[in-house]
């Protein structure tokens, strides 16, 4: 048969079947929400399952999964409206580490999977686009590693995060500095500002708070997220006589920074490298060159808080590594949801939202409440860890520390 005729005969059939498929998909979606007591409480999570930050995505997923395992072991969350315990189910969608794909996948979770609530995935730049969508649909959202205060100043009502704010991070650093004996204390701080939201905000707070406490920010130099040459910044900081360094590089930049600091013989007395130094890989990649570096990711498995030990044991059993900071934050998010749902007694989004706002409980991150803008508040949101001889130790606050702070950092040729 003539090929052109064949094509034209097939095409309308294809079109009609596509239309039918979509109608069916839509109807299926409807029917799932029709039954009275749902089989599971559905939490939708758009996470980085593939792509450049998928390693962080896996930590978040691990934290969530263990939390859900613990809660479902008991039968689930008791929902008064249905008079029974309902287990939690998390439906994951991949955003390929790409903030552009986040919106589509969230729409799918909402329209097709009909999730009840939203969970955040990994990395601030990937979570931020999700906040507005949750607000649009008026569905409660609890996100993980969101430090930004600006993103919680838009007047949104449905978004929450138990994670520390940028201010908490800066305050932790300055608290650690304050704890050093006056005659040894570094006075001059260098800040390398990464050109993204987080970097800019940190710079702003560091400038303000350090001045209030009598420190001097002698160097504030910017660098792009794409760049990997820090020589000009290091030379400047050295020239300004900086004794302390604070910066938030991406993992490859962190490694490059340390190597160049060594090449240029610069070892400030105390160095805080956020994000890049959080990974286990930090010490695998750098060996002893990575020692003495401070870092913190909002939570630490050394914290002596209720629930942490059980979490650590199960995590190590399942995944063969120590729980990372994002995993702990993720676990807490599930705890908060479970607690809020049982207090609300229903799965109604508005009532659960109000219940979350009124949270006052102890999570693996410590005691937790929420400010009116949705940001978490808690004593143990300010902490600091340090790499010592290839091991990660918690050095602040002193009442939960696993090892004392190593100060000052010896120069490179003395190690």
């Amino acid at each position: 048969m003539d090929k052109r005729k064949l094509f034209f005969r097939l095409a309308p059939k294809c079109l009609i079947s596509i239309l039918a498929f979509m109608v069916v998909l839509d109807l299926c979606g409807d029917s799932l929400a029709a039954s009275p007591a749902p089989a599971t409480i559905k939490l939708g999570c758009v996470n980085a399952l593939t792509g450049p930050v998928s390693i962080g995505g896996s930590w978040i997923k691990q934290g969530y999964d263990i939390a859900v395992k613990h809660i479902n072991a008991d039968g689930g969350v008791f929902v008064k409206e249905y008079g029974k315990k309902i287990p939690i189910e998390i439906i994951y969608q991949d955003n390929e580490s790409n903030p552009r794909k986040t919106a589509e996948r969230m729409e799918k979770l909402y329209s097709i999977d009909k999730v009840n609530f939203f969970l955040g995935g990994f990395a601030q730049f990937l979570i931020v686009p999700q906040l507005a969508i949750a607000e649009k649909y008026e569905v409660p959202f609890i996100g993980t590693t969101l430090g930004s205060t600006a993103e919680f100043s838009r007047g949104y009502k449905y978004t929450f995060t138990p994670f520390q704010a940028e201010q908490d991070q800066v305050i932790s650093f300055l608290d650690v500095l304050d704890s050093i004996a006056k005659n040894q204390r570094p006075q001059k701080i260098a800040f390398f500002e990464v050109q993204e939201e987080w970097g800019e905000a940190t710079g702003k707070y560091l400038q303000q708070f350090s001045k209030e406490r009598g420190y001097q920010m002698v160097t504030q130099e910017k660098y792009a997220i794409a760049s990997n040459d820090f020589s000009s910044l290091i030379v400047k900081a050295k020239g300004d006589g900086a004794e302390a360094l604070y910066t938030n590089p991406t993992p490859p930049q962190g490694i490059r920074l340390i190597k160049q600091m060594k090449e240029l013989s610069w070892a400030p007395k105390i160095t805080l490298i956020m994000r890049a130094a959080d990974l286990e890989a930090w010490t695998q990649n750098l060996g002893k060159d990575g020692d003495y570096i401070l870092h913190e990711g909002g939570w630490d498995y050394h914290l002596k808080l209720p629930g942490v030990q059980k979490f650590n044991e199960d995590y190590r059993a399942d995944y063969k590594l120590n729980p990372t900071p994002p995993a702990g934050t993720a676990y807490a998010c599930i705890q908060i949801f479970a607690d809020a749902i049982s207090r609300a007694g229903t799965l109604d989004p508005k009532k659960v939202r109000d219940a979350i706002a009124a949270t006052n409980m102890t999570t693996v991150m410590g005691p937790m409440t929420f400010a009116p803008n949705g940001r978490g508040q808690g004593k143990y949101l300010r902490l600091m860890a340090q790499w010592q001889k290839g091991k990660d130790e918690l050095v602040w606050p002193p009442d939960t520390a696993s090892a004392p702070l190593l100060f000052p950092t010896p120069p490179w040729n003395e190690r």
Partner: protein, 288 residues
């Protein structure tokens, strides 16, 4: 100022070597291999494994060169030999598409096997530098890389001018039909050239490995390489050397005028300006 310049020069030499591989393939067979960066990263993983077995990264270069050469030949046979007979314009397009798919496969395959975690090779001499005078350090690794780059370019020059095969490759790049009339096995020349181009990636593999790498960064190195290829003039293999240095120095100097965040942008802007003002590239030889 001089410190940053030093780093700029060493970076520039790294860019040159990456560009060399891309330029070789493009010059000889008019293929654009976007996956070149990803192949370099594969080499970096190879170097990492060899390092874990105690083999120093620089020592691993010959091993990597052989492996990458074989990989290059295999890839050519599998993917690129299909459209050797196409018209030149179509060849660029086709090879672009195929190498895009290849890049997706390599990058995501690598992520599945090794996770997207950053990796870095840190031998005992990492971070060491020669302090030539107060405040001016020349990093050992960077210097070694630069020296290697120069040696490779010299070796390639000898290859192209002194060996029969090298001369036949040049002939093929100038006019495949004439070359085949003179008895050159064009298909074999393409095959070996492609393998050679991937094999040249072994040196950047090790240098990048000594910095930091992860599965997704291949394309960033390719971008630098292609800019250098263009600056040096498409089809001009020797042009990549000065062009690479040019880019490295421009980036370093720009830090002092515009600040560090605009380092990459300045390089790109200069690149575009050069192409507009010097349509053949800085040292271009290829005719319209």
């Amino acid at each position: 100022m001089f410190q940053t310049l030093a780093y700029g020069i060493l970076n520039g030499l790294l860019y040159s070597i990456i560009a060399l591989g891309i330029s070789l393939v493009f010059g000889v067979m008019r293929y654009l291999n976007i996956a070149h960066g990803s192949l370099i990263i594969l080499g970096s993983y190879g170097s990492l494994y060899l390092f874990r077995f105690g083999i120093d990264p620089f020592v691993s270069i010959p091993i990597l060169m052989i492996s990458l050469f074989l990989a290059g030949i295999a890839l050519f046979e599998l993917l690129y030999s299909n459209f050797v007979d196409l018209v030149e314009g179509l060849r660029v397009q086709k090879s672009l598409l195929v190498s895009f798919g290849l890049m997706l496969v390599i990058d995501n395959g690598a992520t599945l096997i090794w996770t997207s975690d950053e990796k870095s090779i840190t031998p005992f001499y990492s971070g060491m530098s020669f302090e030539l005078f107060k405040g001016f350090h020349v990093p050992v690794i960077g210097l070694a890389g630069g020296v290697l780059a120069i040696l490779v370019i010299l070796a390639l020059h000898l290859f192209f001018t002194r060996t029969y095969f090298g001369k036949s490759v040049i002939a093929v790049s100038q006019d495949p039909e004439a070359a085949s009339l003179m008895g050159v096995n064009v298909k074999r020349a393409f095959l070996i050239s492609f393998g050679l181009s991937v094999c040249l990636g072994a040196i950047p593999s090790v240098l990048v490995g000594l910095q930091a790498f992860s599965p997704s960064v291949g394309i960033q190195w390719f971008n630098k390489g292609i800019i250098v290829v263009m600056l040096g003039g498409l089809g001009n293999i020797y042009g990549v050397f000065p062009a690479g240095l040019f880019l490295g120095i421009v980036e370093a100097v720009s830090v002092f005028f515009f600040g560090a965040p605009y380092r990459e942008i300045t390089g790109l802007v200069i690149f575009v300006l050069v192409l507009i003002l010097f349509p053949r590239g800085l040292f271009g030889k290829i005719p319209e």
